[in-house]
Structures are given as structure tokens and as C-alpha cells.
């Protein structure tokens, strides 16, 4: 087909204007780069007038979701600038809280109001700023009252969001040590060399903070 002599081709009339517009539309759509008028001419049937077709096409896309735009001396179809926000997809990734964060949260929940020093004492390791920030950002903890002790340290308490997330009515509903043990979460084996008395003491000691007392 392509070797049909030039003279013979010219015997055919140029395609109608609407058809030329379709052609330009298809070419601009499928091209990986902006296309010049000369290139359009070369690709379209003999006698076509892509410049004219471009004017019509450009007008046709006015106000649409995509536009016919000029890039240097070439033409392309591009998303309307006001719809750029559609070109992002939000993906939510669910991740488990880190061990440090969940432990810190647990200590605050069980001992609230708790200062950072107290958390560190219980965990036996320093609590990083990031861990606390993360919990604050999750809105699972918030600042409580300052302690009336030297340095007036801030305290942390759990929030309503925390209770909502964990399906608790109040922090008092957190299972106590006895229940944790009954659930098999606390190791019940006496330590080698440790007397059962120690175990009991441990439990009493754990009877801990005011929130569990009533």
C-alpha cells in the first residue's frame, strides 16, 4: 500500500476536515512525544492540513479533562492543570506498632499518669523522643498534669481515642495482672532458685497504682 506512487495518491481527495481532526487526535494520544505539524503532515494522508485540524481539536478540548497543548513547536495532549490532584492515589499501609511504642503505651495505660522517668524505670531502658511523639501523634496518649515534684515533670495519660481503639470504656477496664496470668500471658513458673514467696510479693507489688485499688 505504502508504495503507491505519489501521483496516484494525489488523485484521492484529502480526507474531510472531521476525519483529519480524528487522525490528529489519535496521533497525539498515542505518541510518546509531542508531535510537530510537519510530522503530522508526514503521517496523515496526502493533502491533509493538520494545522487546521489542530485548531479545531484544541477548541474541542477546551474546558475538558485533558487539553491540547503546544510544547515548543510541537503538540501534545495533557491533563487539565486543575485536575492534577486526581493523579495521585492514596494508599494506606497498616503497620504494627513497634515493640518500644507498644510497651511505652502499655506502661502509660497501666500507670497513668506516668512521667517519662517512670516509664524508663519500668521498662529498664530509655524512651526515645520519637516513640512518645508517635503515640502523641496517634492521639493515643496526651499530656496530663505536671507532677508536683522537683523539676515538675510532665505526665502522660491515655486518651479517649485510645479507649475507642482498644474497645475499652475506661483505663480501669484493662485486665489486671491476675487476669493476664490467667490468660497465660504472664509466666507462672517459679524461677529456679526463687521462692514462691517472691512470686506472691511480685503480685502484691503489682497491685500497684491507685487505678486498680478500688
Amino acid at each position: 500500500m505504502s508504495d503507491v506512487p505519489e501521483t496516484e495518491k494525489s488523485l484521492f481527495a484529502a480526507p474531510p476536515q472531521a476525519e483529519q481532526e480524528r487522525m490528529v487526535e489519535a496521533i497525539l494520544f498515542a505518541s510518546t512525544d509531542p508531535v510537530t505539524v510537519a510530522e503530522l503532515s508526514a503521517r496523515m494522508p496526502h493533502g491533509s492540513d493538520p494545522a487546521e485540524a489542530l485548531v479545531l481539536l484544541r477548541r474541542r478540548y477546551e474546558g475538558r479533562g485533558v487539553r491540547v497543548v503546544k510544547v515548543d513547536d510541537a503538540w501534545a495532549i495533557r491533563t487539565a492543570p486543575d485536575l492534577g490532584f486526581l493523579m495521585q492515589k492514596e494508599t494506606v499501609e497498616t503497620r504494627k506498632l513497634s515493640r518500644a511504642a507498644i510497651e511505652t503505651l502499655a506502661i502509660i495505660a497501666y500507670h497513668q499518669p506516668a512521667t517519662r522517668a517512670e516509664i524508663e524505670e519500668i521498662r529498664g531502658v530509655a524512651v526515645s523522643r520519637g516513640t512518645v511523639d508517635q503515640l502523641l501523634e496517634l492521639e493515643w496518649i496526651r499530656f496530663g498534669r505536671r507532677r508536683m515534684t522537683p523539676g515538675r515533670p510532665v505526665t502522660y495519660v491515655v486518651t479517649q481515642s485510645f479507649l475507642d481503639h482498644f474497645g475499652l470504656e475506661s483505663a480501669r477496664d484493662l485486665p489486671g495482672l491476675k487476669e493476664l496470668r490467667a490468660a497465660g500471658l504472664l509466666d507462672n513458673r517459679p524461677l529456679p532458685g526463687a521462692s514462691p514467696v517472691l512470686d506472691d510479693e511480685g503480685e502484691e507489688q503489682i497491685g500497684q497504682s491507685e487505678m486498680f485499688e478500688d
Binding site: A26, F29, A30, S31, T32, D33, A76, T79, M87, Q88, K89, E90, T91, V92, E93, T94, R95, K96, L97, R99, A101, I102, E103, L105, A106, I107, A109, Y110, I122, R123, G124, Q134, L138, H165, F166, G167, L168, L174, P175, L177, L180, A183, L185, L186, D187, L191, G193, A194, L198, D199, E201, G202, I206
Partner: protein, 274 residues
């Protein structure tokens, strides 16, 4: 192989011309010859049967399976005569068709429970028709407008930027486990501390039993505290308590006497002289 087969095959066929009784006409013989030459080009016996069935120039539904079986058996015979190695499945098909042919030709045996020759023949015709239909369907499919050939996708797709947000979750069980982990750790801790900072009564008793023999005079109890337990208040308290308890025990056993001048005054002990 095909080229070689063509030249040799042709010669062999002409040499054996007189003995060809099954091949009835010249055109049939030529057809059989061509088939043998192309044996490598066939995709198995079913493909070959489909090809043979076309020579009947009828609707596949009206095909004569008997005639087809004969054509096929003729083909196999020819191939054998030409010493062309046929794959096993061609021979299996030949055996089956020979069986089918006998079923079709002989009057049905009422004691035979198996399917009749007609049923088997109908199934073969169905298989051929189905293969032919699938080939036509494949051709129609490939004749469709195809992407990248007839129609095209967007040349410059825009990347959808992914806005990734991370949602952290934890369950109540996670929380409980975390707390249990910490508490379990804490239960171990006093035990470890005992070793380091607690002076037990047993230790104090052992120590005082060894020293009591030297205590003829009233001596302040605090002087019985072991070395290294007096500086740090915690350790001092523990050692003092243990030593005091041990001295009470020794007094009870009648080994020492205790003396204190007034409340909170230093306590002194001495060996009880029997």
C-alpha cells in the same frame, strides 16, 4: 528430514507402485505421499486425521469415519513401508482405528457391553469437528483488531503518584502482652537485686558465728557489719537489719547478750559467758 523424505519417499513410492492396492487413485496416492513427507509438520494423529478428513470435501458432521480410518491406516502402512519412524501415538491411533473399523464393519455383538462402533465413530467425528472449530476460533481471534497493531494506548501515561500513608495499629492483646512482658521482666529484677544489695540473715548469722568468739567485751553491733556494706545507705540498711536479726537469733540461742542504753541508742553485744 522433510527434504530427504521428499526425494526418497517419491522414489520408494514409484518403485512400489504395483503393490499399492489400497491407494486407489493417483491423486490419493500423491496425497498420501505428501502426508508422509510432512509427517513432522503434523501435530499428532488428530491433526493428521483432520487433514485427511478434508479430502472427503464434506461437512465434518457427515464425514465417513470408516473411510477416514482406512485413509489413516493406509498412511501408517505407507510410512512403515518407507521405513519412516512414526511416533508411538500415531501407532496407538492406528490400532484404535483398526479396532473401530472392525466394529463398524461387523454386525454388533449383543453380548458386548462396550460402546458401539457408531458411538465411537461419532465421538471421533466430534473431536475432529471441535478441533476444527477451535482452529477457526483461533483464527478469528487473531484477525481481531489488536492492541499495538490496530489500536493504541496512551503514549505518555501520567504516573499516578502514590501518596502513602501509614496507619499504625495494635490490638488489646498486643497491649496486654507488652505489659505482661514488662511485668515478667520486673519480677526477675528483685531476685537479681537480692544478690547484689541484700545481705540476708543467714549470711549475717554465718558471719557472726565466726566472729562471736572474739566478743568478750561489749561491742557496738555496727562493728559487725561486713566490709563494703556500710558506705551505700541501701546496702547498709540491709546489712544492719540482717545483722540485728541474726543477733536476736543468737541471743535466743543463749550465745550472746544484748544491751541498749536507751531507745535508738546504739546496740552492743558480747559473748555470753556460760
Amino acid at each position: 528430514m522433510p527434504n530427504l523424505g521428499r526425494c526418497c519417499g517419491a522414489r520408494h513410492v514409484s518403485e512400489r507402485e504395483d503393490f499399492q492396492e489400497d491407494v486407489t487413485s493417483v491423486s490419493d496416492r500423491l496425497a498420501a505421499e505428501a502426508l508422509i513427507v510432512d509427517v513432522d509438520g503434523f501435530e499428532g494423529p488428530l491433526d493428521l486425521l483432520l487433514m485427511l478428513s478434508r479430502t472427503q470435501k464434506v461437512d465434518l458432521r457427515k464425514i465417513s469415519v470408516l473411510q477416514l480410518a482406512e485413509q489413516y491406516l493406509g498412511f501408517v502402512r505407507e510410512a512403515k513401508a518407507l521405513r519412516i519412524e512414526l511416533a508411538a501415538d500415531y501407532l496407538v491411533m492406528a490400532a484404535w482405528l483398526a479396532f473401530l473399523k472392525s466394529r463398524l464393519l461387523l454386525p454388533p455383538d449383543p453380548s458386548d457391553e462396550g460402546p458401539s462402533g457408531e458411538e465411537l465413530a461419532a465421538h471421533l467425528a466430534y473431536q475432529l469437528e471441535r478441533l476444527q472449530a477451535m482452529r477457526e476460533a483461533a483464527a478469528q481471534l487473531m484477525a481481531r483488531d489488536q492492541m499495538g497493531r490496530d489500536f493504541f494506548v496512551r503514549g505518555v501515561p501520567e504516573d499516578v503518584t502514590r501518596v502513602r500513608s501509614i496507619r499504625y495499629t495494635a490490638t488489646l492483646l498486643d497491649l496486654m502482652q507488652a505489659y505482661a512482658r514488662i511485668r515478667t521482666k520486673e519480677e526477675f529484677r528483685p531476685y537479681a537485686m537480692d544478690r547484689e544489695h541484700v545481705f540476708t540473715m543467714e549470711q549475717a548469722l554465718d558471719r557472726m558465728r565466726g566472729l562471736i568468739g572474739f566478743a568478750g567485751e561489749w561491742t557496738d553491733l555496727s562493728s559487725y557489719l561486713p566490709d563494703g556494706w556500710t558506705a551505700e545507705p541501701g546496702r547498709r540498711r540491709s546489712a544492719t537489719a540482717a545483722t540485728f536479726a541474726a543477733s536476736l537469733e543468737l541471743a535466743k540461742q543463749g550465745q550472746i547478750e544484748l544491751r541498749q542504753s536507751e531507745t535508738f541508742a546504739p546496740i552492743a553485744i558480747r559473748r555470753k559467758t556460760p
